[in-house]
C-alpha cells in the first residue's frame, strides 16, 4: 500500500496545491495592498469627495425625478381633458406620457445634474456634522429597538392568555407586574420608558383575544342553531322577542349567548324563512383557529418609545439635517419647490448615503458609487483596489484553504473521513460567502445553535439503531409519533410548564416502548433489508396515524376540530404550555448570539446517558452484536435480543426527541409532518462521520452542527443570491435534500465493515 501511495501523488497532488498556493498568495498580496491603500490620505480625501458628490447627486436626482414625474402627471391630466381620450389605447397614452417625462427629465438634468458648488468646505462640514449626528442617534436607536424587540418577542411568544393579564379595570402597575412575570427584564430601570407601550400592547392584545374568542363562541352557537333544531317551521310567524324566548327556553346553550343575540336572531330568522320555502341552510364554516400559520414573531414598533437620551440625539440629528438642507438649497435653489412628501424621501435618500450600518471602506465606496459618484480618474484604480480588499482577502483565504486541504488530503481523510472533510470545507466556504454577501455570521451561528438544540436529540436517536446493527433507523418516526401523542395528551389535560414537558416525554417514552419492541421483532425477521423495511414502516406508520389522529377520543376543545367535535387539529401551538421552555431556561447572550442553554444542556445530558449506556455491559454487547453478529453469538449473546434493545432505545429517544423539537419549534405538528424527520436525522449523523455500522456520540454532535450549519448558511446565501421570488425556496429544498442525498451516498452501499 505504501509503495503505491508514494508513486501516485507525485504529479497531481503536488502541482495542484502549489498552483493554488501561488494563486492565493497573489490574492492575499493584492488584498494587503488594498487594505494599505485604504489607509492613505489620498484615498480618504478621494472617498470624502465621492461622498460630497453622492449627497449632491441624491439631492439633484430627487429634484429631477420629481420634475419628471410632475411632467408625466401634467401630460396625463392634459390628455384626460381631451374628448378622444377614451379612444386612445393604453399603450399610446403611456408612450405619450413617457415621452413628456423623458423630455422634462433631460431638461432638468441639464439644469441640475451637475450642480456648481461654491462653498465646498461649508457643504462638507455640514455633511460631516449630519453624518456624525446620524451615527450617534442611529446606533443608539438600533440598540433600543433591539432591546424592545427582545421584550416584545418574549412577551408575545410566551403569553397566551392576555385577558387575565390586562383585564378591564386593572391599573397600569398591575399589568406591568403581570407582564414582568413573563419578561423580568421589563421591570429593570433601564426599560422604564417602554412600560407604557407594553401596557398598551397588553390591552390591545386582550381586546383582540376577546374578539377572537367571541367570534369562536358565536360560531359555535351558530353551529348549535344549524344542528340542534329539528324543524324550523315550528318557529314560523314569531316576532324577534318571542323567537328569542322560545329559542332560549329550548336550547340552554343559546341562553348563555345573550351577547350575540343580534347575530343569532338574524341567523334564526333566515333559517325560518328558508324552512318555510322548504330549504335548509348549511352550517357555518369551520373557524380557522386550528390552522394558525406558523411563523416567527416580528416585533411591532407601534408600541415603541424612545429614551430621553435618544430623543435628544434625534433632535440634534434634525438640526444637523436642517443645516445640511440649507446648504443644499443654496446650491440647488429649486429644492425648496419639492412637496413635503418628497422632502421626506429626499431626507431618507441622503440618510441612506450617510448612515451605513457597516461603515467599512468598501461599503462606503459601493454606496457612493451607487449614487453615481465617480472617483477622480487618476486615483480610480487605487480606490477600486482598496474597496476590493476584503473580497480579495476572502477569496485568498478560500483558495488557500482549498490548497491546504488538497495538500493534506491523505492525512485529513484518514483522520476525519472524506464526507466529513468535504462538508466541513463546504461549511467554511459558506461562512466566507456569508461574509462576502454581508450576512451576519454571528446571527446565523445563533440560529445554528438553536437548531442544534432542536434536532440534537432526534439525531441521537439514530445512534443505538446503528450500533445494534439495524443501520439507519428510518422507522424512528414511530418514536416521533409516540412523542407527539405524549404532547397532545399533555395538552388534553391542560398541563403547563415543566410538568407538561416532563409528562410529554415520559408519556411518549412509555408509548414508544411496546411499539419499538414490536417494530424490532419485525426487523429481526428482515435481516439484511433493514433500511428498506424501516423506511417503509416509518412511512406507513405515519399514514396509519393520520387515521389515528382523527379517531382518537380527545375532548379538549383547544386541540380538536371545533365543528365535528372530534379528531385532532394539524398544528398545535404550545404557547402557554411549554413552548421554548428549555431553550429559554438559563438562556444568555454572548456576542449577540442567544445561547439556548437549557436545550443544549438537555442534549448534553441525553448524550451523556447514551454514552454511559454504551460503556455498560449491555451496551458493549449491543455494539458487538451490531458490528459482528457471529462474534457476538460465539460469546453467547443473543443477537436478536440486542437488536431489540437497540431498536427500542432508538424509538424511545426519538419520542423524547420530538418533544424537545416541538418545544423549540413552539408548535406540535401532527399528521404527515414527522415523515421526513428520519431522513434529516440520518443525514446529520452520517455527515458527522458515522457509517451504517458504526456511530459515536461525537458523530451525533459534529453531524448535527455541520448539517444545520450548512442548511442555515446555505439557505441565507441562496436567498441573497436569488433575492425575492420563489427561487430561494427551491434552493432551500435543493440544498437540504442535496445534503441528505450526499450523506446517503456515504453509507458505502450498505457495506458492513
Amino acid at each position: 500500500m505504501s509503495e503505491k501511495t508514494k508513486e501516485k501523488p507525485s504529479v497531481r497532488s503536488r502541482i495542484v496545491p502549489i498552483v493554488l498556493f501561488i494563486l492565493a498568495g497573489i490574492l492575499l498580496v493584492a488584498s494587503v495592498s488594498g487594505y494599505a491603500l485604504q489607509g492613505t490620505q489620498e484615498s480618504k480625501a478621494n472617498l470624502d469627495d465621492m461622498r460630497t458628490s453622492a449627497v449632491l447627486h441624491a439631492a439633484s436626482e430627487g429634484l429631477i425625478n420629481s420634475i419628471a414625474q410632475q411632467a408625466r402627471a401634467d401630460k396625463l391630466a392634459e390628455l384626460r381633458k381631451d374628448k378622444n381620450f377614451r379612444k386612445r389605447g393604453l399603450d399610446e397614452v403611456n408612450e405619450i406620457c413617457d415621452g413628456a417625462m423623458n423630455e422634462a427629465r433631460a431638461e432638468a438634468e441639464k439644469l441640475y445634474a451637475n450642480p456648481v458648488v461654491q462653498d465646498k468646505p461649508a457643504l462638507e462640514s455640514a455633511i460631516i456634522a449630519y453624518e456624525t449626528a446620524l451615527a450617534a442617534s442611529g446606533s443608539l436607536s438600533q440598540d433600543e429597538r433591539a432591546a424592545y424587540a427582545d421584550l416584545y418577542i418574549q412577551l408575545v411568544d410566551n403569553i397566551s392568555d392576555w385577558k387575565a393579564l390586562a383585564a378591564d379595570g386593572m391599573d397600569d402597575d398591575a399589568v406591568i407586574a403581570a407582564l414582568g412575570k413573563t419578561a423580568p427584564d421589563l421591570l429593570k430601570d433601564e426599560n422604564a420608558h417602554l412600560r407604557a407601550g407594553f401596557v398598551r400592547l397588553a390591552r390591545d392584545m386582550a381586546v383582540k383575544q376577546q374578539a377572537k374568542e367571541d367570534a369562536e363562541s358565536q360560531n359555535q352557537l351558530l353551529t348549535v342553531l344549524a344542528t340542534a333544531v329539528p324543524d324550523w317551521n315550528e318557529y314560523a310567524g314569531l316576532d324577534k322577542d318571542a323567537l328569542w324566548e322560545k329559542l332560549t327556553a329550548e336550547l340552554p346553550e343559546i341562553a348563555a349567548g345573550e351577547k350575540f343575540k343580534d347575530a343569532l336572531l338574524s341567523d334564526a330568522l333566515a333559517r325560518v324563512e328558508a324552512a318555510q320555502k322548504g330549504e335548509t341552510l348549511s352550517a357555518p364554516a369551520e373557524s380557522e383557529a386550528g390552522a394558525e400559520t406558523v411563523s416567527e414573531t416580528q416585533a411591532d414598533y407601534r408600541y415603541f418609545a424612545a429614551t430621553e437620551d435618544l430623543a435628544q440625539k434625534e433632535l440634534a440629528e434634525n438640526a444637523a439635517y436642517d443645516a445640511l438642507y440649507a446648504q443644499l438649497v443654496t446650491i440647488i435653489p429649486d429644492l425648496g419647490t419639492l412637496s413635503s412628501k418628497l422632502q421626506g424621501t429626499l431626507r431618507e435618500n441622503i440618510e441612506k448615503v450617510l448612515y451605513l450600518e457597516d461603515d467599512g471602506f468598501s461599503a462606503r465606496y459601493n454606496t457612493y458609487r451607487s449614487q453615481k459618484a465617480e472617483p477622480e480618474a487618476s486615483g480610480a484604480w487605487k480606490l477600486n483596489l482598496a474597496s476590493l480588499a476584503q473580497n480579495l482577502l476572502l477569496a485568498g483565504i478560500a483558495i488557500l484553504l482549498l490548497g491546504l486541504v488538497v495538500f493534506f488530503w491523505d492525512p485529513l481523510t484518514q483522520r476525519f473521513g472524506v464526507s466529513r472533510t468535504i462538508i466541513a470545507l463546504f461549511f467554511v466556504y459558506l461562512c466566507l460567502l456569508a461574509e462576502f454577501y454581508n450576512i451576519s455570521v454571528r446571527m446565523m451561528m445563533g440560529n445554528v445553535l438553536e437548531r442544534m438544540s432542536m434536532y440534537g436529540v432526534l439525531v441521537l436517536a439514530m445512534m443505538p439503531g446503528i450500533q445494534c446493527g439495524i443501520g439507519l433507523n428510518m422507522g424512528m418516526t414511530i418514536g416521533c409519533i409516540s412523542g407527539l401523542l405524549g404532547i397532545v395528551l399533555a395538552l388534553q389535560i391542560n398541563l403547563v410548564g415543566f410538568p407538561a414537558l416532563a409528562f410529554a416525554c415520559v408519556c411518549g417514552a412509555v408509548v414508544a416502548l411496546p411499539l419499538g419492541w414490536a417494530y424490532s421483532k419485525l426487523l429481526n425477521r428482515m435481516k439484511g433489508n433493514e433500511m428498506t423495511i424501516s423506511t417503509y414502516v416509518g412511512f406507513s406508520f405515519v399514514s396509519l396515524m393520520c387515521i389515528g389522529w382523527m379517531m382518537l377520543p380527545f375532548t379538549n376543545p383547544k386541540i380538536i376540530w371545533l365543528l365535528s367535535g372530534k379528531g385532532l387539529r394539524v398544528t398545535h401551538s404550545l404557547l402557554g404550555s411549554f413552548a421554548h421552555l428549555l431553550d429559554n431556561f438559563l438562556a444568555f447572550k454572548v456576542f449577540g448570539i442567544k445561547v439556548p442553554t437549557g436545550g443544549l444542556l438537555f442534549l448534553g445530558l441525553c448524550c451523556f446517558l447514551v454514552w454511559l449506556f454504551s460503556r455498560s455491559r449491555l451496551g458493549i454487547a449491543m455494539t458487538a452484536a451490531g458490528s459482528n453478529p457471529r462474534f457476538a453469538e460465539a460469546s453467547g449473546i443473543s443477537v436478536n435480543r440486542m437488536r431489540t434493545v437497540g431498536t427500542v432505545l432508538s424509538t424511545v429517544i426519538a419520542a423524547v426527541g420530538i418533544v424537545i423539537y416541538s418545544q423549540a419549534f413552539g408548535y406540535a405538528q401532527l399528521y404527515t409532518a414527522p415523515r421526513q424527520l428520519g431522513f434529516v436525522a440520518s443525514s446529520a449523523i452520517l455527515i458527522g462521520g458515522a457509517t451504517v455500522s458504526k456511530a459515536k456520540v461525537s458523530h451525533v454532535l459534529i453531524g448535527v452542527f455541520l448539517f444545520e450549519g450548512v442548511l442555515v448558511f446555505g439557505q441565507q446565501i441562496a436567498n441573497s443570491i436569488m433575492a425575492g421570488g420563489g427561487l430561494s425556496e427551491v434552493m432551500r429544498i435543493m440544498i437540504s435534500n442535496g445534503i441528505i442525498l450526499y450523506a446517503l451516498t456515504q453509507t458505502g452501499g450498505g457495506r458492513r465493515a
Binding site: R615, R617, S627, N628, R630, F631, E633, A634, S635, G636
Partner: protein
C-alpha cells in the same frame, strides 16, 4: 502420433509473491491413461490445474515458469475457454448446471445445434432455430456412454447429486475433440455404488483414447482405476510411477512424508496422560456448511492435548463449532460429567469451555475495536468480569491492566492496547484471540486452526503458549489443524476425521502410512480405534 505423451508439463514453478506454491513440478500423461494426482490440501494440485487451464488467477499474479506441451506442441493457454477449444475438459467439483433446464439443454449449453431459416440468414446466427432432435440424440448418446438411464428431457432440478455429477461428465464427453479430462474429486459426493459406476465410466472413457487426470483423496479408488500416479507434497513432486509398483500404504506414506522437521521442539511427556474423561462426545452430528459431521464419538482425557486432523472439508472443524453451539448440532456431549446443552454458546462458555475460532476475522474478532476491548469482551459478557459496581459500567482500568499483561505474556506486537485489531498482522490477531479465550479462565480449550495464515514466528509462539497452558495450568486442550506436523509436534494423541466420522485415533509417533490411510478413511492396525 507426434509424441508418447498427450500432455507434458515440464518444470513448472509458480510463485505467489515470494512464496513458491509449485517448485519444479513435472507431469506426463499418456493418451488413454487414467493418471491419479495425489496430495494433501495445499500440496499444489489445484494450482497445477489452474496453470493447465490458464486461469486468470495465474496470469494476474505474474504467470509461471516452465513449459506445457500438449499433443506434441508447445502451447500457451490463455484462458479456460482456450483450454476447452484445444481439447482439455474439466469435471467440476461443484456442479455447474442450470437447475431449470433439461438434461439435454445442460449438456448442450452454449454448444447448441441450430438450423438456419430465412430470418436468421438475414439477421445472423443468433436467431437460428434449435435442432432439438439432433441435440436430444447427442445427449442420449452421451448419457448412454456414462451409463445413465434417465430420460434426456428431465429437468435437472430435483435430480439426486450423483446424477448431476454424471450429467456434468456427459457434457464433457459430448464435446468433440476432447483429448484430456480432469476429474476434480468426482466421488466426494457420491454413494459407494455410484462411485463404482463412475470409475467404470472413467475407464470406458479412457478406453476411447481420452486421457484422464483423476484428483482424489481415496486411495482405494486410485488402486482400482488409475494406471499411474503422481504425488505432490508442499508444491514439490514427490514421485511419479505406474500403479503396479505401489500399494495404498506406500501412497499414504508418500503423501504425508516426514520430510520437514517439527515446527517446534517440545519436550514430550514421559508418560501417557491417564486422567479421567474431560469431555465425552457421543454420536455428534453437526450441520456446518462444508464441514459436516455425521456421528462423531470421541473421548478427551483430562490434562491432555488432543489433536484433530484430517483433510479439508471432512468435518474436523465441525466438532469444536458444534460443541460450542455455533452451528446446529445433535448428539450428546458431557463436560466433566455434566451434560452440555448444544446450540447454546452462552451455556458452553459458562460451563468452562472456550474456543479460538478458525475464522479469525469473521467470528474471532471485532476488527474495528481495540485490542483491550476484544480481550475483555467475552469474559465481561459471560462471567461479568471487568465490571464496576456502579451503573453497570465497564472497568476500563482493570481491562487495560489485564490487556497489558496479556500483551507482554503473548508478545502481541502493537502500538498500544487501544490499537484496533483490524490493523494487526494475522499472527498478532491470533494471539489476541487466544488472550480473549484465556480471559475466561477456561478449564477446557478448543483451538481451531490456530496457525492458519500466520508467519512461522507467530506459529511457534502460539503453539508454545498452548503447551505452556497445558503443562502449567493443566488445561485440557483440543487442537484442530490441517497441518499434521503441528499436531504431531505438540499433541498427545491425534484423532483423524474423514467424511464426518472419527476414523482413527493415533499416537503422534504412528507411521506416516497410518496417518495417510486414516485420512483417506481407512483404519490401520496401529490406531487405538474410535
Amino acid at each position: 502420433m507426434a509424441s508418447e505423451f498427450i500432455l507434458e508439463m515440464n518444470h513448472i514453478t509458480k510463485l505467489y509473491g515470494s512464496n513458491a506454491v509449485l517448485k519444479d513440478v513435472s507431469l506426463k500423461i499418456r493418451p488413454g491413461e487414467i493418471h491419479a494426482l495425489l496430495g494433501e490440501n495445499g500440496a499444489g494440485k489445484s494450482t497445477l490445474m489452474n496453470v493447465l487451464f490458464g486461469m486468470p488467477v495465474i496470469h494476474s499474479t505474474g504467470g509461471f515458469e516452465g513449459e506445457v506441451i500438449f499433443d506434441g506442441q508447445k502451447i500457451a493457454i490463455a484462458s479456460p475457454m482456450d483450454a476447452m477449444e484445444k481439447g482439455i475438459g474439466m469435471v467440476h467439483q461443484e456442479f455447474m448446471l442450470i437447475p431449470g433446464f433439461s438434461v439435454t439443454d445442460n449438456i448442450k449449453l452454449n454448444r447448441e445445434i441450430t438450423k438456419a431459416w430465412p430470418v436468421s440468414k438475414l439477421l445472423g446466427k443468433d436467431l437460428e432455430f434449435l435442432d432439438t432432435k439432433t441435440m436430444a440424440k447427442d445427449a442420449r448418446k452421451a448419457l448412454d456412454d456414462v451409463g445413465m438411464s434417465i430420460e434426456e428431457y428431465t429437468l435437472v432440478s430435483g435430480l439426486p447429486v450423483g446424477h448431476m455429477q454424471f450429467i456434468e461428465i456427459a457434457r464433457e464427453i459430448d464435446k468433440s475433440g476432447m483429448k484430456l479430462l480432469v476429474f476434480d474429486e468426482p466421488t466426494a459426493v457420491l454413494t459407494e455404488s455410484e462411485a463404482q459406476q463412475l470409475l467404470d465410466v472413467m475407464k470406458s472413457i479412457a478406453a476411447k483414447g481420452i486421457a484422464i487426470i483423476f484428483i482424489t483423496h481415496r486411495l482405494d479408488e486410485v488402486m482400482n482405476a488409475a494406471d499411474s500416479v503422481t504425488i505432490l507434497r508442499d508444491g514439490q513432486l514427490v514421485s511419479s510411477f505406474p500403479k503396479a509398483e505401489t500399494s495404498p500404504e506406500k501412497l499414504a506414506a508418500l503423501m504425508i512424508g516426514r520430510g520437514s522437521e517439527s515446527v517446534i521442539q517440545v519436550e514430550k511427556r514421559k508418560e501417557a496422560v491417564e486422567g479421567g474423561v474431560a469431555m465425552s462426545i457421543r454420536d455428534l452430528w453437526v450441520n456446518m456448511p462444508g464441514e459436516v459431521d455425521k456421528g462423531i464419538s470421541l473421548d478427551v482425557r483430562e490434562g491432555e492435548i488432543l489433536g484433530i486432523g484430517g483433510l479439508a472439508g471432512q468435518g474436523k472443524i465441525g466438532i469444536p463449532n458444534g460443541v460450542m453451539g455455533l452451528y446446529e448440532a445433535i448428539g450428546e456431549v458431557e463436560l466433566f460429567g455434566q451434560k452440555l446443552p448444544l446450540g447454546d454458546a452462552g451455556a458452553a462458555l459458562r460451563a468452562g469451555l472456550a474456543m479460538v475460532s478458525e475464522d479469525r476475522r469473521g467470528v474471532g474478532l471485532l476488527l474495528d475495536q481495540s485490542i483491550e476491548n476484544n480481550i475483555a469482551f467475552t469474559a465481561m459478557q459471560v462471567k461479568g468480569s471487568f465490571m464496576k459496581k456502579l451503573l453497570w459500567q465497564k472497568d476500563a482500568r482493570a481491562i487495560r491492566r489485564y490487556a497489558e499483561e496479556m500483551i507482554k505474556e503473548l508478545d502481541i506486537r502493537c502500538t498500544s492496547p487501544a490499537q484496533p485489531v483490524g490493523t494487526l498482522s494475522g499472527g498478532n490477531q491470533q494471539k489476541v484471540c487466544v488472550a480473549r479465550a484465556l480471559a475466561l479462565d477456561p478449564k477446557f480449550l478448543f483451538v481451531s486452526e490456530p496457525t492458519r495464515g500466520i508467519d512461522i514466528g507467530a506459529k511457534q509462539l502460539v503453539l508454545e503458549t498452548l503447551v505452556r497452558l497445558n503443562r502449567e495450568k493443566g488445561m485440557t486442550i483440543v487442537m484442530v489443524s490441517s497441518e499434521l506436523q503441528e499436531l504431531r509436534s505438540i499433541c498427545d494423541r491425534i484423532a483423524i476425521v474423514a467424511e464426518g466420522k472419527v476414523v482413527d485415533i493415533l499416537k503422534v509417533d504412528a507411521s506416516d502410512t497410518a496417518f495417510g490411510l486414516a485420512m483417506s478413511g481407512v483404519k490401520s492396525k496401529e490406531g487405538e480405534g474410535a
